[in-house]
Symmetry: D2
């Protein structure tokens, strides 16, 4: 054994599994460890502390172990500052750049731990040292200098395509601390506390919907924002009226969707059909299969959704309520779109940036019957945002919950019955 | 061309596709035909008529063609009587026996067309000529002689395992007429008329549930019986209270389910849990995972479900309402059962016979979140019984609707929201 | 009855179901008809002919009926020319524009039936009368005047966003003829003839794969092009080597995929992993979860995929074989992309145009484990292109086959075993 | 705090998560604990040891905590003997009976820890004290006295329906020790060691199949038995020949299936079809849909499968190879069976007993495309048996792996390609 470093574990390290994972990792990777100190929290809410001396045969192996420990929340006892290197060109990161997790993260700069703003998975971390500059290329869109409030250094994330030549990028793993969120325990978790992981269609649907309603209520009472990520199946399955009510009653603060969602909602307003099917009688009126393309051409003719609402062309529906109630929406384009509507952002990078803004403002996200848009939003979420995911396809729910959110509810259900029941819970009281 | 026979097609032969299929079949099989007469129904409700001379190179080929035409509803112009041969031993049919479809079927005996009673797929047809005998082995359970009302001959189905030595079994294909049901057209179909085939999760759920409720209402108003075929997911998903209400209010006239369904319903009554999960709080009380086995042992101790209700051990739930309201139930055993309960019929053949009785009495069947029991019931249904199938898994719905029922609605939905909404539609008016 | 028009049906109108559908439509819509002439094809390959006088109460109702008949392949006996109106602005179609099906279509201009080039669903039809102009906005990318070969008028499709002010657009339904393809019958269909519709996981996989291989062989022997539409699951499931072999051996003439597909293929080449999992050992090497983002940054650093191949950074895999063998690829961007790679087309409309070119050149399309890209390609395909769709999710296969292709094979299978077996069939002979 | 007991944890208690779970449980349930001793295993293969004093406010609460700790592998420092009570009647257990897990379990009788034989989930534990009796009703079928080898006491499981009046049944939780298996770590697990849990269709299929083949090889080399649990989809998907080869080459030591599986295998031998589809050409020969019922009647006529093989009626297929190679099979009946075949065990309890024997003899179980039979077999397996589960439906795989087996591989794949590839791996070397 030639290389040894001391690391600390702190918090609910036992029942969150952190300690077990760290011990296992060290052994799996061929290292060894001594427990130098170990204080067990005596009560449910008390934290524990462990200090370990970790050893490996070579410094290279030790670094690999420390990398993994660090990803699991361990911190070096005697940390150095993070290493910073300039980006050699626009969109090009320095070799060995640190790629983020979606957990709260801190970097050590000038001996101080800075929180990394706008934490999001698979980004680079940029550090600014209070220089006056306009970070146009930052993933945010504010044009004020983004140094710390006190003019000191500031750390934040950038996706690869936003990196600019000269950005000071964190490389390696020294001076970085990650805080994986602990799973809420019992009554601590509030409305989300009851979730014990796993996705199943075998849970009581009405009780689960009532819990989701409670979580929405609680989020709104706490002054938080609820973002609804919506797929077109929501319209086809007849849930549009109820989502429109939730928008007009202030329970939804933003909509993230695609061109098809808006088209089918507008088609319903213009023709009473969705994909050509009458939503009441379930008949297919003649030429109904052409309604969606007529809808698109009408909205193009009007100059966009807002213009169509103002002109009285569109008089009901989700998009209508968004316009009337100033609820912002992002319609992200995709290669399967018809049209598209003038409101649809066809460039994927631009659309991602718009989604990123929505994701950052959201305190709770409802993912409603869309895999594509839910993944896009999920990619931008920190692990601390509450997420509810509803889809008829269990694989979709599993895939969306698999992203490390600490407070996530998955429900395999019919969006056409879920939204009406959620609306009944929230509105009919 | 050496062999020729004349066949007739009658009814809505054009828009039902029957004529197209028959023409196609003849050509596919290398035959040819002359249209001797062709009268097209001039109105929507008028029937058409076609008479064809069908030819083939050999008599053997002609027979094969006629077999297929017959399965599609064509009848020979100059039919002979059906061929009857005695079963050589119990459960053993004569070689070349005629195996039934699930469509209304007639056999020609002594120059008369007899309807085949209790038509069901994959059975033998037994003809009795008014002899006084007790058909114990018949798939029915009555012990009266089963000849025709007038003492004349009678035809009915028997599954293979019920065939008895000496039964006169129809063989070959002569003297048999099948009437595939026509798909209901527009307003003719009533509540079921709106269905245009296909299974999709992209239909308006609330509208569809309202239509199902209408069909249940209509069935009850017509004096019909509604059979609910139920899987355990109905309990886990929290729909038990609403199904219990439908039973107590007289909307369900029979339950066909398995041991697990009853166990979880009873567990909910005894412990408030289903598979160990509290149905209200969704928590897993300690030892909850043992509740189902304790439930079984309590019911065994009481001597069965009815005794447990009478003893006051069971005081609520679906099984309770069945006992209290004299709604008959069949609990069919399976190899994955725990216990089983004393009420469970563990022999598959006995259970099929019990299910067969239920199926024959049903005018409408609700298949609720179970593939196994739905297939078992579906196997016994004629193609004229109304069927509604609800499951979260689209493959299950597709498989169940693929059985040739003329009046079937498939819905990919969450049983935990479907049943409450159906109950609201039926009860809260 | 005040309004009457005569229509003709021609072809395999009986066994294709066309006649039955037309008769049914007329009756469903409240019309009536007289069969004025009816000649039945006497042989399997002979065509039939029917002439009907169709009547309705009002001219308006008659038009509606004729619209539906026309969509099903009937033609007016005495047609008028198509109506043409100029587009009032870029991207804005005249009210009442004719929206295309994906079936071969003809428009009548100056008394002549013109085929509509580049037929594709949900487009406008533009007619040019041999005027010299450069149709930049046309959905194609050629810059030659697009009038007919003889300088006469020409008709072709444009998606809504490509319509330019002044384009002469077909409106209404007069003067339009649609030819829905007939389902191939028996041996006529060659390798695709065996398909009798429906999607099922219950078909013999090896036999089905052998048929697909035959169809690929036949397409290549006929000088046709095979387009592979690929999702990232193809890489994760270990099928990349075999697809790379098919590319290098000339069985695949184009790849249509997304950023993720390319990233994971390149990751495999650079690190031996896909999504961080070692493809041989199935272990997750440390930092493996960062390989995809490192891969992206390496390709950006190199300047793109082709540059990375030329620089020797990338030395194997599907993208490598595409570059080495001049097999064109389109990487269409989406909002869930990391990076993206410099080669990814981030604008959805641009990407659709690139996909449209691929779709038009393809004689056979393999849709391999991707819903998004398959729908995008499928949207651009005429109903006459051969399609094979393979996915582990039956709903995906159903949805993709539901688009009216006459020659489509759906297979619910594991892409990680399908591609190797297909390659064995094609390469090891 | 009034009640305190001391418990011990031993083994890989940290990286298996056992310690974390136990600490968490105590705190969740309102208890507290002191760590009296804690020795951490220093090496990968070294075990750790912890001794805890657990306290709660009341004795009742403490018992609840100890119950949960015990289910997770903790043992009381100073155990008492297990409590035994006689069964009051056949099939009736004493109130408060101990219901088993599927983990290795020991009961303390007369101060000695006895292993519980034939451990299986949801059973009662019967203790015999060396009395000479013939335990006909035991879930086993041996007729020898089942006391310990040395004539001392013996403990074994009985399902509820096998309990006989007077059986001495373990009640309460004192004197019981459960040893949840540890997940294999790295190279310790051999062919199964690579599995890191989770079910995904996104794993390299060929590599995974190779690993399964290795595990089969290893099982056979170790003298173990491989049980194949098979659904009818295996036949429809064309995998029957390859499974038949595996049977004839000695890689499969038992088949557990249903009536339908055997019928379709036999149909393939008699007619070349499965569910009426030709397995080579994929055509549906005329009358093909009747082949399965003809097959059943032929086998009934012959007197059963073995007789049909001996008579030369059946000359190929899986059932044929089973008969020829003396590979035992269990065909368990179900309510959806046609026929059934004379070989099918129609009583569910009898069938479960037959399956139980198979399960106990198996060292490795392949669950191939059947949920019903896999659950039935899985119910009888101890958590230490190796399980491979393959199904096209991810929900089925998830459900089957959710049963606490320590060595389980789940694979979402196409059984029609899996079995041929597995056979290639095992046979073509």
């Amino acid at each position: 054994m030639t290389a040894t470093r001391t690391v600390e574990l702190e918090g609910h390290i036992i029942d969150s599994g952190m300690m077990g994972r760290c011990f296992g990792l060290i052994m799996d990777m061929g290292g060894s460890f001594e427990v130098e100190q170990f204080d067990i929290g005596r009560h449910k809410h008390a934290e524990s502390y462990a200090r370990l001396a970790v050893s490996a045969d070579t410094d290279h192996e030790l670094q690999a172990i420390l990398h993994e420990l660090h990803q699991n929340g361990a911190t070096l006892l005697d940390p150095s500052d993070a290493t910073l290197e300039p980006a050699p060109a626009d969109q090009v990161v320095p070799t060995g750049f640190y790629s983020t997790t979606n957990h709260p993260t801190f970097v050590r700069v000038d001996g101080e731990w800075l929180p990394v703003d706008d934490i999001e998975m698979d980004c680079a971390v940029v550090v600014e040292r209070g220089v006056q500059r306009t970070p146009d290329g930052s993933s945010g869109d504010d044009t004020e200098p983004r140094d710390g409030a006190d003019g000191g250094p500031r750390a934040y994330t950038k996706v690869l395509n936003a990196v600019e030549e000269g950005d000071m990028i964190v490389t390696g793993e020294a001076g970085i601390r990650v805080e994986p969120p602990e799973r809420p325990r019992g009554d601590e978790g509030g409305a989300f506390g009851f979730m014990q992981g796993g996705v199943s269609s075998e849970r009581p649907s009405e009780s689960l919907i009532a819990k989701v309603a409670d979580a929405v209520e609680q989020t709104k009472e706490d002054g938080g924002d609820v973002l609804a990520v919506c797929g077109p199946a929501l319209i086809h399955s007849g849930a549009a009226d109820d989502l429109a009510r939730l928008v007009s009653e202030g329970y939804v603060d933003g909509i993230s969707a695609g061109n098809g969602f808006a088209v089918h909602d507008l088609e319903r307003g213009l023709y009473g059909t969705s994909l050509g099917m009458d939503m009441e009688t379930m008949e297919h009126p003649r030429k109904g299969h052409k309604h969606h393309i007529y809808t698109i051409s009408e909205i193009i003719r009007a100059g966009g959704i807002e213009a169509a609402v103002e002109d009285g062309v569109v008089t009901e529906g989700i998009m209508y309520e968004c316009v009337e109630n100033d609820v912002p929406y992002v319609l992200a384009g995709s290669i399967r779109d018809d049209g598209p509507l003038p409101d649809t952002i066809t460039d994927a990078v631009e659309a991602q940036n718009a989604i990123r803004e929505q994701a950052r403002e959201a305190d709770m996200v409802l993912m409603l019957a869309t895999l594509l848009h839910s993944v896009a939003v999920g990619n931008c979420l920190p692990s601390t945002t509450r997420v509810v995911c509803v889809d008829i396809n269990p694989s979709t729910v599993t895939q969306l919950l698999d992203r490390g959110s600490a407070q996530a509810i998955g429900m395999v259900s019919d969006i056409g019955t879920f939204v009406p029941m959620l609306a009944d819970n929230l509105l009919d009281e």
